[in-house]
Every structure is written in C-alpha cells, then in structure tokens.
Amino acid sequence: MSEAASPWLLLAQLCQMTIVMALAPLLTGLVRKVKARLQRRVGPPLVQPYLDLRRLMLKEVVLAENASWLFRIMPYLILSITWVAAALVPTFATGLMFSWSGDLIVIAGLLGAARFAQALAGLDVGTSFGGIGSSREVMFASLAEPAIIMIILCVALIAGSTQLSTIADHMANGEVGLRVSLALALVGLIIVALAENARIPVDNPATHLELTMVHEAMVLEYSGRHLAMIDLAAFLKLLLYVSLIGCIFFPFGIAQSGSGPEFYLLGLLIYLMKLGVCGVLLGVLEMSIAKMRVFRVPNFLGGAFMLGLLGVLLLYVSRGM
C-alpha cells in the first residue's frame, strides 16, 4: 500500500465520502419520483428527501420513558457505520486511500453491524412493533448473508480477489467477457439488495401497516434527528448497493488508481449516470411487482442463494475442472 498514501487518494477518498453522503437522498428521491410518475402522479420533487431530513433535524425528539442510552446512540452508530461501508465501495475511482482497509466481506460485516445496532434499538423500548421489525429483519439477513457469500465467492473466483478495487480493475479490463455465472450473480445480488434495502417485494418503505412493515416497524419509536439519521443511513445503504452493483458488474469508466484528475471527473460523470439508470430501473421494478407475504420471502432469498451456488458450480465446469 505504498502508493496509497499519496494526498491525491486521500482527497479522492474524502470527496467520495462527501459525494455518497450528498447523493444518497437524491437517489431515493429519484426512485420515488419515478414511481410517482409511473402511477400517473406528479409526485414529490427530487429534493424531497433533503427537505424531509431537514424537517426532522429541526424537530424535537420524543423518547419513550424507558428508552435507554443505547436507543439514543444507535442512530449515530448506524449512520456512521453505513457511511463508512458506503465509502469503501469504489464509486467513481478505485484504489482510494482507505479502500484496502476492507474488502467485500468487511463491507458485508459493516452492514451487519449496522443491522445489529438497529435490531437492538428496535428491541430497546419494549414494544411489540419493535420486536416484529427486529426479528423479521434478522431473519431476512440470515437468509441474505449466505447468498452474498455465494455471490462473493463467484466473483472472487473470477477476479481472484475480494478486494473491490482489484475486482473492479479486473472486470474493467475486459478479458473477463460475458459469463453466465456473472449474470446469475448479478440477479442474486439484485435480489439481496432489494431485501436488504427493505424495498418491494420484500418490504414496503412507504407503509405503516403493522403486518407488512419490517424496517419501518423497527424504527417506529424514533423521531426527530434520530429518525433523520436512520433515514439517511437507509438512503446510504441503497446507494451503497447500487454502486456495488455498478463497480462489480458495470465497472466501465471507473478511474484506475493513480490516473489523472480528468479521469476522476469522467468517472464521476459516468457514476452519476449509473445512479440515474439504476434509480429508474429500481422504480420501474418496484412498480411492476407486488409485495409478497413475509413468509414467502425466504423462498425469494433462497432463490438468490441458489443462483449464487449455481454460478460457482458453473464456474467449476467452465474452468473444466
């Protein structure tokens, strides 16, 4: 990691952090907008998430009587951990300064830590809704994680690394070509992303119907700035998955480490485009399918796992071993 220390990379790292933080609400706004349009509604403006955050920030916090200190610090932790995770994913450039402080598994782990914190927070007040949310969340996670590992395995087999920068570089220089396994892995990752971000068909971010909600139930007791932070963390997570998909499966345009600033600008533009496309696609997807019952989700996620495993086995075959 000798060259990692150069100020350029540090700068790039910092701007990536600010960029993800800045863009996350926008992406959610975009998705909402698209959905609204497809529903023949005008819908809120793109910047609505920012406004919501601001409103929440300025509101006072209402705490339940028996809410403990855990309940109050968790939002900060959730937000910062998610932020770090998001910062580890190459968005517009690889080989950023801290990118080697963690690989894909670390990112998964960080998200797990955030989830752990959130689930605990959900249990803290001691209401039935918090319990519902937490227990369902961990159940989804327990199914999503093996799928992620399978996908990572698949990718690592191809790229020979779990280091995102390396993977991105490897994928970018094109000798990989199109592979069935990769396609399967992509589908799997999308499924996982939907589940992890509490999107339709697994969960409905816009509902407050006790039987259907998972993520919302968990954060039901939060208000004011705490809620704002948790929402922001959710936005970040969505962005993270989108950029993850981007940098693994569509790494074109990502600036290689050590390349000049102009490449970085180019990468940034291309990254913005990727976000836009993904946002639109996500909106369309969410419009075109319905939410499924909680106990159908396991099959859904199990599907993702199967896809990953299939991808790995196909790789064995394709390598003629």
Partner: protein, 666 residues
C-alpha cells in the same frame, strides 16, 4: 521454559490440596482464587514467551517407569497454554467476587485449580499415558464442578451424562493412542512420531481421534453434554469448561491429526468440513431456540467449535493437496478463533453469572430491562455479543473473516468432495454468522433491553466489583484483539511453522498494521483503520447534528403505532422473536410445531400458543441407546433370582461345552 510451567502445575495442585481444608473461610477462598489467578497469569506469560522459543522437554520419574512422565513445550502447546492462562486468570479474578455468592464453596474451590492444572498437563503431556491421565483428570475435576450444585433439579443427570461422555472420549482416545503406540507400547509421542504407521492405521486413528476429541469439544452429534453441564456448573466453572476445556479438546485433535500422524487425506478433511459445518449451524439454531441464558451460551459454544473445526478442516484439505499457503491461513484462522472464543465466551458466561446472581434466574422469559439496573454488566455483555456475532471491528469478525478468506482463496480442489464441501461450508459459515447475530440480538435485547418481564428483573442488582472488573477486562480484550490482530497472527506463526512448515506473511511488517492473509491485492482488512474511520465519521455526524439539528428532546409514552400498552407482557418475548427463524429452519431441524388455541368469542379463557420442538439427535441416538441398555439390564436381571439348581446347571453346561470344545479341538 518447561520447568516454570511444571512449577505452575505443581502450584495449582498444591492450591487445590490446600483449599480442600481451607475452603470454609471466605478470606482464604478469595486468596486461593487470587493465587491460582496469578499462577494462570504466569502460565499466560510462559506461553507467550515460549511461542517463539523452540522446544523444551522434561521427564519426571513418575507414571510408568519405563516411559516416565514426559512434558514437552513446543509452540502448539504454548499457544494453548496462552488460552488456558488467559481463561484461567479471568475466571479466577471473576471468582474472587462471584465465589462469595456460592452456597457451598467447599465443593467448588478445590476443583478449580485442579481443573486448571489438569488442562495444563494435557497440553504439556508428551506421552500417551500422561496425556490420557491428564485428560481423564480434567474430566473428573470438571465433573465435580458440574456436581457442585448437586441438589438442584437435573444437575445430577447433567453430571452423569457429562462424565459418561467424557470417559467415552477418553477411552476412544485411549484406543487411538494405543493404535499409534503399537503392541510394544512405544507410548512417548517422540516414538509415535518416529514410528511409520500404515495408512489404514492412520485412517482408524483419525476416526477415533475425531470421535474422542470431538465428543469432548462438542462436535455434533456428540455435543449433548454441553447444554446440560454448562448450566449446571457455577458460572466461572462453566466459563472455564466452555472457554478453555473445549479448546484443550481441540488441541488434542490438532496434536494427533497434524503432529502425531502423517499429512491428512482429503476424505478426512471432507469429513471434518462436513461435521464442522453441521455443528456450527445446529449449534446456533439450538442457541436461537433456547431461553435459558447458560444453555444458550453452551449451544453457541457448540457453534463456535463448529467454526473452529471448519478452519481445521480447511487446513487439512489444503494440506492434503499441498497448498500450504491456504493451509497455514486456515489453521491460523482456527487457532485465532479458538483464542477469540475463549475471550468472549468467558466474558459472556461471566455476564450470565452476574445476571443469575443479580436476578436469581437464567430464564430470559423473566428478565428484561436490566440495562437500567446492571449497567456495567450490560455494557460488557454488549461487547461480548458484538464480538461473538462476528461484527467488525471486534475480534470475532477477524477470525471468521480469515476463515472466509481461506475458503475464497482456493475453493476448487481436485477432489469433487472438497470442491462441493468448501463452498457449501462458506455458505454455512455465513448462515452461522448471521444466525449468531440474530441469536445474540435476541439474547441481549430480551435480557437487557425492553421492560422488566418479572419481579426478578425488576429488583435486579448489579454484581460485585471483581466480577465487573473481569468482564470489563475481557471486553477490552475483545476490542484489542479485533483492532490489532497482527500481533496474534505473528504470534501464531511458529505454530503453523512447526505443524505445516510455513506461516502467513508477517503482519506487523505492514506499517498500517493491516491484516493481509496472502497478498494485499487479494484481500486485506484493517480493523484499526476501520475503527478510526468509524469514530471519525461518528464524530463528524455528532458534530453536524449538534451544530445544525435541534437538541430539544421530550420523554413521553412509547408511540407503538398508536396503541401503547403499559403491560410488559405485550413485549416481544424470546419465543416470539425466534418465531420467524423457527418457521424457516426449525420445521426441518427440530420438527417444531405450533399449536394455537384460540377461544371462541365470549369464551373467557386466555388464548394460548404452544410450541413443540424435538432434539432429533438426543431422541434418535441417545434415548434409544439408554433404552436398550435398560431393557437388556432388565432381561438379564432375572439371573439374580434363579435357583441353586439352575446355577449348578450353568456350571454343568459350561463344563460340558468346554469338554465338547476340547473334544472337537483335538
């Protein structure tokens, strides 16, 4: 370095002997605990010091005269000496305080040092006799500890099952080592290493060692004693049993499979991988369904043993295919996880003990909201839960991350068995990790968070200073090991060198102290940096929030979607929390069934939901065995009541048969 450790053993035994008579006096008890804690610290130091320093041996004119009692302190032994020292020191510190609450200390105090001494002996032993002697002694002394609360319901049974399983494992290892020693009785490990054993023997020894060490470590399906014995023993004893003794069992396995017999075969690796995966998942699923704190922890021990065995299995697989870099990584991961497990499992058992002492119950269904009354315990336990759930940046994550790296390093092996087994183990490992996270969210959330579910929790009180100190120290260790894993990995290098002839790239060389399994371009993890990163961003967030957001806050009733209910019964219980996962996995693994009894409107009786679960291993394997023995005993018992004429008949028949045999033989 061998003499000092021998002195430590002697000191521990002396303490045990002393405490037999002195255990009545509280002060002496505390002193004895303190003394054995210090000895354990010495052991810890010796272990660390002799990790790098080569092999030192020692022979005492005891035991069988023609072989004597041989001790040998090589790097592997040193590594496990560190575990014993660490766990022992912590347990003793904890016991200084916790021991005061014990009703009948005379049944506990003497056996703690004896237990520690015997475990040390197992690790130091260099001949089959000494090894098994110490092994059985370990079982016996820990049995006494399990028997300490002999009047409580079910403890006698627990102790019975435990000792039977322990003796079973001892006898199995006896067979294994007897096989290796050969008819001439070359019992010293040196002789065994020197002897050239045929592959068939190696295979047999492997199977026996797996059964023997596995049943002591808690490998499914030989794990049944853990959830019985650990709750029965006093908490510091269960911490030792679960945190240290199971590791000693793993030491035995490694010693036999990697050191005493030749390089493993791929199928043995596949078997270990399979068992490890099953053990990990079964253990954590059991833990998820438990509501007794200590039983839960016992099952989670089973899970972690499974993870360690996955690492060992990977090492065997790679070694059998001559892929040493992978083998080294996997074995290091396994050893590292063993260390981590010692740390956080001891911590968690301490915490469970504190809860038990503070509330008088281990039943999560009657706890809740302890965060307000047992602040320190809760804080330490939180660290433990995060660590055991393998979440960054704590230590549990590091070892599991390394295991993942080993899996990802080269999942494809020439043999199809491994080709399938390794990725599947990867998935099982991931499943285990997340289920463990779920399990400990549940455990921590139900026990410490929410509202008190019963009088026990409402009137809970914080435990004593020594216990808290022990817990906090171990919590700090969880963090340290997570942030600076390089030290541990470099420390383990001599072990892998001696067993596999190679070691991982030196970690401390990297000036960012980041953890690099093979090469930086392949994968790397820097716990310290991630931690700093998180703190930095947290600080930024805090700053921003407090700069721009309103700091107003108000306390009021919980919102709860508009129907707040003051009664704590309305909270999510442990059962309701586990329900979704039970629905998904339980129906298969435990054949769980839920029976809902919903009274018709106007009917006043409460609605109730009952859950039925089966422990298939117990009901499918152990109960039939017991039933068979019982019925045979019943049938044979008739022989007690025959008439003299019948007994004479036996003599007559025996005589005639022998004569017939003779006639035919001639």
């Amino acid at each position: 370095m061998i003499e000092p450790s021998a002195y430590c053993v002697a000191a521990l035994l002396a303490l045990a002997a002393l405490s037999v008579s002195m255990a009545r006096f509280g002060l002496v008890r505390a002193l004895i605990y303190a003394a054995s804690g210090l000895v354990c610290l010495a052991l810890l130091g010796i272990g660390i010091a002799s990790l790098g320093a080569g092999v030192s041996q020692m022979r005492l004119p005891l035991g069988l005269p023609w072989i004597g009692v041989n001790f040998r302190l090589d790097s592997l032994a040193a590594a496990f000496l560190v575990l014993i020292g660490l766990g022992g020191a912590g347990a003793n510190l904890y016991a200084i305080g916790y021991g005061r609450h014990e009703p009948d200390p005379g049944r506990i105090v003497p056996f703690i040092p004896a237990f520690l001494a015997s475990m040390t002996l197992v690790v130091l032993a260099d001949d089959a006799f000494t090894f098994l002697f110490a092994w059985e002694l370990m079982s016996l002394s820990s049995w006494a500890l399990v028997m300490a609360h002999h009047r409580e319901e079910g403890n006698a049974r627990a102790a019975f099952v435990y000792l039977i399983m322990a003796v079973f494992s001892g006898l199995t290892l006896l067979l294994a080592l007897g096989m290796l020693a050969g008819p001439s009785g070359g019992f010293t490990f040196a002789a065994i290493r020197a002897a050239h054993v045929p592959p068939a023997t190696v295979a047999m020894v492997f199977v026996l060692a797996t059964i023997g060490a596995g049943s002591k470590a808690g490998l499914v399906p030989l794990h049944v004693w853990l959830p019985l014995a650990h709750p029965a023993a006093p908490s510091h004893a269960s911490a030792l049993m679960s945190g240290v003794m199971t590791k000693v069992a793993i030491y035995g396995f490694i010693r036999i499979v990697f050191d005493l017999t030749g390089p493993p075969t791929w199928w043995s690796a596949a078997i270990i991988l399979l068992l490890g995966g099953i053990t990990a998942v079964m253990g954590v699923l059991h833990a998820l369904m438990e509501r007794d704190l200590k039983r839960l922890l016992a099952y989670s021990t089973v899970e972690n043993i499974g993870i360690i065995f996955i690492g060992i299995g990977l090492a065997m697989a790679f070694q059998s295919n001559g892929f040493m870099a992978g083998a080294v990584l996997a074995l290091t991961a396994a050893l590292f996880h063993a260390l981590n497990h010692t740390v956080f499992k001891s911590l968690l058992f301490f915490g469970a003990g504190a809860v038990l002492h503070g509330t008088g119950t281990r039943d999560m269904g009657r706890l809740g909201g302890l965060i307000n009354r047992m602040k320190w315990t809760q804080f330490a336990m939180l660290a433990g839960c995060v660590a055991i759930s393998a979440l960054p940046p704590l230590n549990g994550f590091v070892s599991e991350w390394m295991t993942f790296q080993a899996i990802l390093l080269r999942p494809e092996m020439p043999q199809w068995g491994l080709k399938i087994m390794i990725p599947v183990d990867g998935a099982l490992l991931a499943l285990t990790a997340t289920l463990a996270a779920a399990c400990f969210v549940r455990m921590h959330g139900i026990t410490f968070l929410g509202r008190a579910r019963g009088e026990a929790a409402r009137t809970a009180h914080e435990t004593d200073a020594c216990s808290i100190a022990a817990m906090l120290i171990f919590a700090a260790l969880c963090v340290l090991l997570g942030l600076l894993p390089g030290f541990v990995i470099d420390g383990l290098a001599p072990v892998t060198v001696s067993l596999l002839g190679g070691h991982m790239p030196t970690q401390l060389g990297d000036r960012w102290l980041s953890l690099v399994p093979v090469s930086a371009s392949r994968s790397s993890y820097n716990g310290l940096l991630v931690f700093l990163f998180i703190t930095a961003s947290t600080l930024i967030v805090v700053f921003l929030v407090h700069r721009f957001a309103s700091s107003a806050k108000r306390r009021s009733a919980a919102w709860d979607c508009g129907f707040p209910d003051p009664r704590p019964e309305t909270q999510y219980t442990a059962e309701s929390f586990e329900q979704p996962i039970r629905r998904v996995f339980g129906s298969l693994v435990f054949q769980t069934r839920e029976v809902v009894d919903m009274p018709s409107p106007g009917d006043m009786r409460p609605a109730r939901i009952t859950r039925f679960a089966h422990d298939l291993v117990w009901e499918g394997l152990y109960l039939p065995l017991a039933a068979y023995v019982g019925s045979t005993a019943d049938r044979m018992n008739v022989l007690q009541f025959l008439t003299i004429r019948r007994y004479l008949g036996f003599v007559f028949v025996a005589l005639v048969l022998l004569l017939l045999g003779l006639a035919l033989w001639q």
